[in-house]
Amino acid sequence: MNKRKGILSFGRINFHYLVLIVMIFIVTAAMTVYSPYFLTVNNLQVLIDTFIMEAVMALGMTMVIISGGIDLTVAGILPFSSIILALLLMREVPFGIAAVLVLLAAAAIGCLTNLLRRSLNLHPMVVTMAIAAVIKGVDLTITGGSAVSGLPESFTRLGAVRILGMPVSWIVYIILAAVFLYFSKNNRWFLQVFFVGGNEDAAKLSGIKVEALYRNVYVISAVLAAVAGILTAITYSSASYSYGTNADLRVITTVAIGGTSLTHGGSGSIAGTLLGTLFMAIIYNAFVMSGISTYYQDVVTGVFLIAAVLLSEGIKVLKERKS
């Protein structure tokens, strides 16, 4: 019965993580050779800045996907939050209150997602796709298609604030990632998400309140998208419907590359998502550095999505064959 020992598990290290770490090293090494500029402080800052919004949203998306669902509303909520925040600020609402209002609005969208999913018994893919479309339409209608700028000076200053030499968005992400990582290992509710994703019926019979759990998962994902929207507004001192275009695809790919299964719930990890985030950030940066048109980014994202699914499913098939 020593099935756990073998080429697919190196002691306690997950094979999937190992593949990711090796790939991160390979890409980093290749890029360092290609361009001496790659491993400079300046470039690493750019690297992080270009992917930090996706990084924030990937945390919530991981929970949604582990629960067996998917959330496509994030790409709509991000610009929506930035726009609402900007409009509130321009009406001289204090930043703190405006931010709370935006987060509450996002939470309401998360509740709505779950309500529709539950009452219409629809697949979350359908529900969130529809809601995303509506929100994007609202974004366009409110702004008339142009960026909202000219925000109060008290707010735009936030974009220049450095704490320990890091911008606000980094600090927020570090805190969120740490909390999620810690909670994912120890928190009762997080473990329940795995149970529900693994076997919803068994979870229900085990006394887990499945419906409340689904609602919380979608609310968390929506709120994190709103956080990303607020951070975007801080970083760019403006708001626009075009922020976060196709972010949903990038976020889902990141989660899948981190080893969270898109095909069946109940498996995945925040740690994997953090590694996936790092990998994707490096890849996007490598693109820019090597002068390949950014138009190809979505092509690559799609290819990686398939590769990630093949990798995690492939490992599973191999494991099953062995046992």
């Binding site: 019965m1 009762r188 795995f194 149970f195 693994g198 068994a202 085990s206």
Partner: protein, 501 residues
């Protein structure tokens, strides 16, 4: 010379011998029934005749010639068609499309000839006297109608042998009458009908002959004249109980844990009353469809209850969800451990704490890793789960018996006062089975109230202190397990049928 001859068929799944040396003759123009307890091997035998399974030894003879059928298509080639217990209707397609699925009439170039499709389907329905619009969407029709479509589907392939596996379990009385009329007509036309059921009254009503299976052995075939309910029951259950079972309750103080009064759930069970007592094992016997699991589901809060009262420790309760029931100390161990019990892709450790997460927390919502490990280790030792170091194994990789023990660990960790176990020893080997029965007795001896649902008579007689007999959604009797025999229980289950004879 018989038309279809099953000749010394033997079949095993792994180490589990399902059929042993079965020989039965079937004639054209007869309705030949097969009866037996759940797991007696009825469906397996039919699947061998239908080419879905292959026999390990023995053969099927048609008109005296050996017929080698490796899949259902070849069985159709020999004129054998099956209507399975679970209907395979494509709900979004029309009745006609369902009849001719994968067998559609085509024009030149391979395009479907829609006019002929609907005309042919109408003709098929006409043949069996079913009043179905060929253009109706199949999913919107009643179960009885859907079954007619299935029968038409099989008959459209011009079969001589029609096998029906538990065809009446989901039908209303009218639909059953209609089905029987069709079967009698088909018989008149010279077809062989093989009818599988565990409803004695139906069998004695329509069959010309009945063959009885028990534990994979054919205990005999009766002609119409000899078909007596008592005889059939004896042939179904006549076996002795081995000494594998634990002793009965040492002391019984008859303190009621659960009192259930007149509970009903539409279409599932009605007016059921009984009680479950501390310190003893109450067995609940019933064949599939008797409403046992449904009854437990409603009490446990996993399903609604239309009428009736439930008292826990004398206090009226009505659980809206399982969480409430578990909080009050009522737990339910499901019969379907893979679908409703375990999280097979998660570890043993995670599974054992699934129903008691709250008690594994410190500082509010944070899990105490040490306590979880201790909990798991304790149950691995106590229930003798193999291998001993399986804490971080995925449950999927354990054997059936050990998976069942993990399921027990999950529920015992929730510290129940009352434990409902549904088919607690299904699909496990004899060793694990005995162990599980002894565990149940130990639990009862420590004061727990155990409500054991089972369709296996030896298990019911060997383990329980009292027996509740369910049949077709009704409680047909509550018997003290003192000198009780399998026949007594069967007779109680079929009380109504015996009376009507």
């Amino acid at each position: 010379m018989s038309y279809l001859k099953v000749d010394h068929i033997t079949k095993s799944f792994g180490n589990n011998k399902v059929l042993t040396d079965i020989s039965i003759d079937f004639e054209k123009g007869e309705i030949h029934s097969l009866i037996g307890e759940n797991g007696a091997g009825k469906s397996t035998l039919m699947k061998i005749i239908g080419g879905i399974y292959q026999a390990d030894s023995g053969q099927i003879l048609i008109d005296g010639k050996p017929a080698n059928m490796r899949d259902p298509v070849e069985a159709y080639g020999h004129g054998i068609g099956i209507v399975h217990q679970e209907l395979s209707i494509a709900g979004n397609m029309t009745a006609a499309q369902n009849v001719f699925v994968n067998n559609e009439p085509v024009k030149k170039c391979g395009f479907i000839d829609w006019n002929r499709l609907y005309a042919d389907a109408a003709a098929e329905f006409e043949k069996i006297g079913a009043n179905i619009d060929p253009k109706a969407i199949a999913g919107t029709l009643s179960v009885g109608m859907q079954q007619m479509i299935e029968i038409s589907k099989v008959l459209s392939k011009d079969v001589n042998v029609l096998i029906l596996d538990e065809p009446t379990s989901a039908l209303s009385d009218n639909e059953i009458e209609n089905l029987f009329r069709i079967l009698l007509e088909l018989k008149e036309r010279g077809k062989l009908i093989i009818f599988i059921s565990h409803k004695l009254n139906e069998i004695t009503r329509i069959s010309d002959r009945v063959s009885v299976l028990r534990d994979g052995v054919c205990t005999g075939t009766l002609d119409r004249e000899d078909m007596e309910v008592q005889t059939i029951i004896r042939m179904m259950v006549g076996r002795s109980i081995d000494a594998l079972y634990p002793p009965k309750a040492k002391r019984r103080d008859n303190k009621k844990a659960l009192t259930i009064e007149h509970i009903s759930r539409k279409g599932k069970f009605s007016d059921v009353s009984f009680d479950i007592r501390y310190g003893e094992i109450t067995g609940m016997f019933g064949l599939v469809g008797a409403g046992r699991t449904e009854c437990a589901f409603s009490v446990f809060g996993a399903d609604k209850m239309d009428e009736g009262q439930v008292y826990l420790d004398g206090k009226q309760v009505r659980f809206k969800n399982p969480a409430q029931a578990i909080r009050e100390g009522l737990c339910y161990l499901s019969e379907d451990r893979k679908a409703l019990g375990l999280f097979v892709d998660m570890t043993v450790k995670e599974n054992t704490v699934a129903a008691c997460l709250k008690s594994m927390c410190r500082y509010g919502e944070f899990l105490d890793e040490n306590r979880i490990r201790e909990n798991t280790e304790n149950y691995i030792k106590e229930l003798d789960i193999h291998p001993e170091d399986c804490r971080n194994y995925k449950v999927r990789n354990l054997s059936g018996g050990n998976q069942q023990k993990v399921l027990f660990a999950k529920w015992l960790a929730a510290k129940p006062k009352i434990l409902i176990v549904d088919e607690p020893a299904r699909g496990v080997d004899v060793g694990a089975k005995t162990m599980i029965h002894h565990i149940l007795r130990q639990l009862a001896d420590t004061g727990m109230a155990v409500w054991m649902i089972s369709s296996e008579l030896p298990e019911i007689l060997g383990v329980s202190d009292r027996v509740i007999v369910m049949h077709e959604g009704h409680c047909r009797g509550i018997l003290e397990n003192v000198g009780l025999t399998e026949e007594d229980i069967m007779r109680t289950a079929f009380r109504e049928e015996v009376r009507h004879e």
